[in-house]
């Protein structure tokens, strides 16, 4: 480049830099104000969400005869409740229950996502008669009270001879997760920029490859969000698990419900709170790990226009 051109370019750069700096200055000031407001609101949200959980943790460290104390810190302090929760002496098998819940939850999420994504693609992208009716049927599965499913399902699975297996827990769990999964993914896939997929297919990709490599990454927030919600829903499911699981396949919700004190009629609040804390922590860790994925934005190039 000749010196003259260089000078023009540099001058232009400097002018642009000044303008950006000016603009950035104004933005910075507004940004700080907004940051403060955001920060305060964030703190309020965290307190609202965590306060009862804090109470739960505090109670879990109290000795049984101090269950109803109202001081803010657990003094006197004891690890007894955690020992009780984990001990298998009284027949509580919390670790095994956690393992069972993990098996059921992970299988549910994987299968629900596979079935859900395929169904959502068909509903969002393809045209065929009867689509509304099928969508309505899928939605209809969320309209029947779950409590009324217990007896028929118990009889059905007893007849087939599947009592005590994992599939009797997984299959109903999938059916509870599917409607929400399908509908959420459908509504997201509808909003996707389809010209990208069209372009890829014109370039020679199959429909599947175009979908998998182009569209699905853009729908990652929706996919991970529904995965988290489906996993938590399966983790927390109680009714079906209480009826269809046996001692060996018990999930955490059933295990906790079966906690007792050392006397009949005695409510083991502290042990239940300890178990609840134990059972919630893996979910919190899971979300901490995955939370970036649920807010991945539209960062792939060539989309924003």
């Amino acid at each position: 480049m000749s010196t003259a051109t260089e000078a023009v370019v540099t001058q232009g750069r400097r002018r642009r830099a000044a303008k950006t700096a000016d603009y950035a200055n104004v933005r910075y000031k507004r940004h700080v104000g907004a940051s403060l407001r955001t920060g305060v609101q964030a703190i309020i949200i965290v307190i609202w969400c965590l306060l009862p959980f804090y109470w739960m943790i505090v109670t879990s460290f109290r000795p049984v005869d101090h269950t109803f104390d109202t001081n803010l810190l657990p003094i006197p302090f004891t690890w007894d409740n955690y020992a009780t929760a984990f001990s298998t002496e009284l027949g509580n098998h919390l670790l095994r229950a956690i393992g069972n819940s993990l098996i059921v939850g992970l299988t549910t999420v994987i299968v629900s996502l596979i079935f859900g994504v395929t169904a959502a693609y068909a509903l969002a992208r393809l045209e065929f008669r009867g689509k509304s009716m099928l969508a309505g049927i899928i939605l209809g599965a969320s309209m029947f009270p779950a409590v009324a499913l217990l007896s028929p399902l118990f009889q059905l699975f007893t007849n087939i001879g599947w009592t005590g297996t994992y599939q009797v827990l997984i299959i109903p769990s999938i059916s509870f997760a599917l409607p929400l999964t399908v509908y959420t993914l459908t509504s997201f896939l509808r909003e996707m920029p389809w010209d990208l997929e069209e372009a890829a297919r014109i370039d020679g990709c199959t429909r599947l490859r175009a979908f998998w490599q182009v569209i699905l990454p853009l729908a990652a927030p929706a996919v991970f969000t529904t995965a988290i919600l489906a996993f938590i829903a399966s983790w927390n499911e109680y009714l079906i698990a209480s009826v269809l699981s046996t001692d060996a396949t018990q999930t955490v919700t059933v295990a906790i419900a079966g906690f007792t004190g050392s006397q009949p009629h005695q409510e083991p609040y502290t042990a239940v709170m300890a178990a609840g804390t134990i059972v919630t922590l893996p979910l919190v860790v899971l979300v901490l790990i995955l939370q970036r994925k649920i807010v991945a934005g539209l960062t792939a190039g060539g989309v924003k226009g």
Binding site: L50, L126, M143, F188
Partner: protein, 331 residues
Amino acid sequence: MSSVAQAKAPSRPPTVKRGSQKDRERQTAIWLIIPTIVILALVIGYPIVTAIIESFQKDPGLDPSTGMFNQGGFAGFANYSHFLAQQCGTVTCPPGTNGAAFWTSVGNTFLFTVATVVLETVLGVWMAIIMNRSFRGRAWVRASVLVPWAIPTAVTAKLMLFMFATYGIVNVVLQQQILWLSDPAAARIAIIVSDVWKTTPFMALLILAGLQIIPDEIYEAARVDGASTTQQFFRITLPLIKPALMVAVLFRTLDALRMYDLPAILTGGGPGISTTTLSMLVVSQIRQGFNAAAALSTLTFIIIFLVAFVFVRFLGANVVATQSATKKGEA
């Protein structure tokens, strides 16, 4: 605002579908949806069919001579009129029976649904917007927002039972002696508060996913154009998260109409029947006569179906309108 219009309708080139292409699409579509339909048919469809068949049978009656139950017969619509018209045989169902409790529990269910869904939507949108912003420590905010939803319902209910007890922490903080669980209005408030605390994260998470679709440039452009934060919210954010919001609200409503776990453990449906929901009535009826319970489940199903119908038809929660429909401007 042109930038908004741009974002609202991702460009879709017109395609003319030939006959064979349509057939192929239909084939593909069917194979893609069949697995979902099969599982739902097995787990939910079969019990629904069973319930409908059973609801037209009478509950077994007691043979006075032997004291044993024998088969009921055909009941026609008797099980349905038992609840809808409060007919217990030839008299109106007296207080203390499930028949008498039907309309009250419908009212309770709708009260809980409206109150919790409205509150959860408002709070959920607020939380989602905050979680969407970038600030230090937002990972922790997002994780803590999920905590209420992550705790098993049974534990939450026991925790709330504990906190709302006569000498529990809520009364201590409020410096009152409210009998939360034996006063109808207080019990309803306790349930609504507990449910809102527990379920707002569900809404917040779905709405947060919806916020991801909106590119930052739109807000930039709007700010340059001089739009205030409120204007940005109502003119940009709200319309663009509408699809995700509608799905979240729809499913939350369907779940709230089937509420069971929380009131069952927290108040047991009492005091009286002031917190009994339809699902709780079904459970109680199953213990007393399962044919009438089948009718009650079917009634609940129909009620929920009507609510969903209103949603989809009038509030625009239709998620299956596709390219061509969008092109025609229907959706």
